[in-house]
Amino acid sequence: MNKSDLKLIVSILGITILFLIIFSMIQKQEAKTALIYYQNEVVQIIDLTQNEQRDYIVEGENGPVVIEVNKGKIRVKQEESPLHICSKQGYISKNTEMIVCLPNKIVIQIEAKNIIDTVAR
């Protein structure tokens, strides 16, 4: 193996790494959506790419569950349950992360990509 071979191998490796970085950046920019389930039904769909801060209230098994959205992150702020496990969990923001409020039968799930193509109204 001489010097030029080494150069070739290094440059191929370099290009590959560059591609990997570009792809991971594209994925980061993908839209993110939080789905809120009560039992098996989606009761609220929240676009997390809009950098708003807002509270949503959904009806759980033990009463209202307050869900806070803040700069692309989402958490359960307030809820009625014996151990408050889901409000203690804090914010989630990454793809496929989940908050489960078992006593309230509420699940928050994050999906990557824009799951809605269009809206009928």
Partner: protein, 339 residues
């Protein structure tokens, strides 16, 4: 040894390049996404096409614009055009003739409306232009509501006065015909047919919330969100999944005005001459945008239980959002609930 490695590299590098080229060709074969907005029939129309041939896309967008523009003119009640006989001409002409010859498309829409007057027991009434004009006046001024006497005085047109004859002719009875529940769905269906006729099957059309989709790219079904009628930010209360379907919503939450704390919207019941208040919204899913448009209006004018029975006989499914904020679905909805 060194020669061997050299050889391997000289074989590997061209292979890699060929592989990349093949990948590139495969990616290129996948159509690019093209979008365009139009403004006709009082709404924004959003069209998305997936296509490899950019010249074809340009041609398609021009064709789509022509279709919406012509249907817009045909269904215009407020203005006449030199090149076309439209609803304004039918209503306001001073011609001393017994019959007027119509464009085939206008004739078809009026005939479709008459057909559905019978099928809906008079709930869909295209002869209500005068009553709608009274409501529009109050809505534009945002002040007060019309009295029932004022509405009844203006309700002199009758569906029986709309008489269609052979050879695309209509009797010159000066009826104030309104195609508000028909024209948008009709034009959208024609756009879908046009796109398929030129070989574009991957498309999505959203004509002011009146959605029609073809086949998606890279996945099995389109996901179409249905707007929550209570939300001001355009949040979604349900998602339906499908291809080659039309999704149309009728609701009183989009166009309305408030008077004395009461909301008055634009969908008027022909029996009471007042805005219908059986529900917050109803969404119809069909494979035909014309049917979707007309059925969503009919269902909005009926109590939900009556609508549930009505839709059983149609090739369509529905989602009602009632005044208590509950979602009710028709019996065959589950086919649109799976991804």
């Amino acid at each position: 040894m060194q020669e061997k490695i050299n050889k391997i590299i000289w074989i590997l590098v061209p292979l890699l390049i060929v592989g990349l080229l093949i990948c590139h060709i495969i990616f290129k074969n996948e159509g690019k996404e093209y979008t365009r907005n139009f403004f006709y029939m009082d709404t924004y129309i959003y069209v998305k096409l997936y296509e490899t041939d950019s010249k074809k896309v340009e041609q398609a967008f021009q064709g789509i614009e022509t279709i919406y523009q012509e249907y817009h003119k045909l269904a215009d009640r407020y203005q006449s055009y030199d090149d076309i006989v439209n609803l304004y001409t039918i209503h306001n002409n001073t011609l001393e003739v017994d019959t007027i010859t119509l464009d085939q498309r206008l004739y078809d829409m009026i005939s479709y409306g008459k057909e559905w007057y019978d099928k809906s027991n008079g709930k869909l009434d295209i002869s209500m232009g005068n009553v709608l004009d009274v409501w529009k006046q109050y809505r534009d001024n945002q002040n007060g509501i019309p009295t029932i006497e004022e509405l009844k005085q203006n309700d002199r047109s009758n569906i029986e006065d709309i008489i269609l004859l052979e050879n695309n002719q209509i009797k010159n009875n000066h009826v104030n015909i309104d195609l508000g529940a028909i024209a948008k769905g009709y034009a959208t269906e024609m756009v879908g047919e046009y796109l398929e006729s030129i070989g574009i099957f991957n498309y999505l059309i959203n004509a002011g919330g009146n959605v029609k989709v073809g086949i998606p790219q890279n996945k099995n079904k389109f996901s179409i969100g249905i707007e929550d009628p209570n939300s001001k930010q355009g949040e979604i209360c349900k998602i339906v999944y499908g291809k080659n379907i039309s999704v149309v919503t009728s609701g009183g939450y989009e166009r309305y005005y408030e008077y004395n704390g009461q909301k008055y919207h634009h969908i008027i019941d022909p029996d009471t001459l007042m805005p219908a208040n059986h529900m917050k919204s109803v969404t119809v899913i069909t494979d035909d945008s014309r049917l979707g448009d007309i059925l969503s209006t009919i269902l909005f004018l009926m109590p939900i239980e009556e609508g549930q029975m009505f839709i059983e006989n149609e090739n369509a499914e529905a989602i009602w959002y009632n005044n208590e904020n509950q979602i009710i679905t028709s019996s065959g909805m589950n086919q649109y609930e799976q991804k």
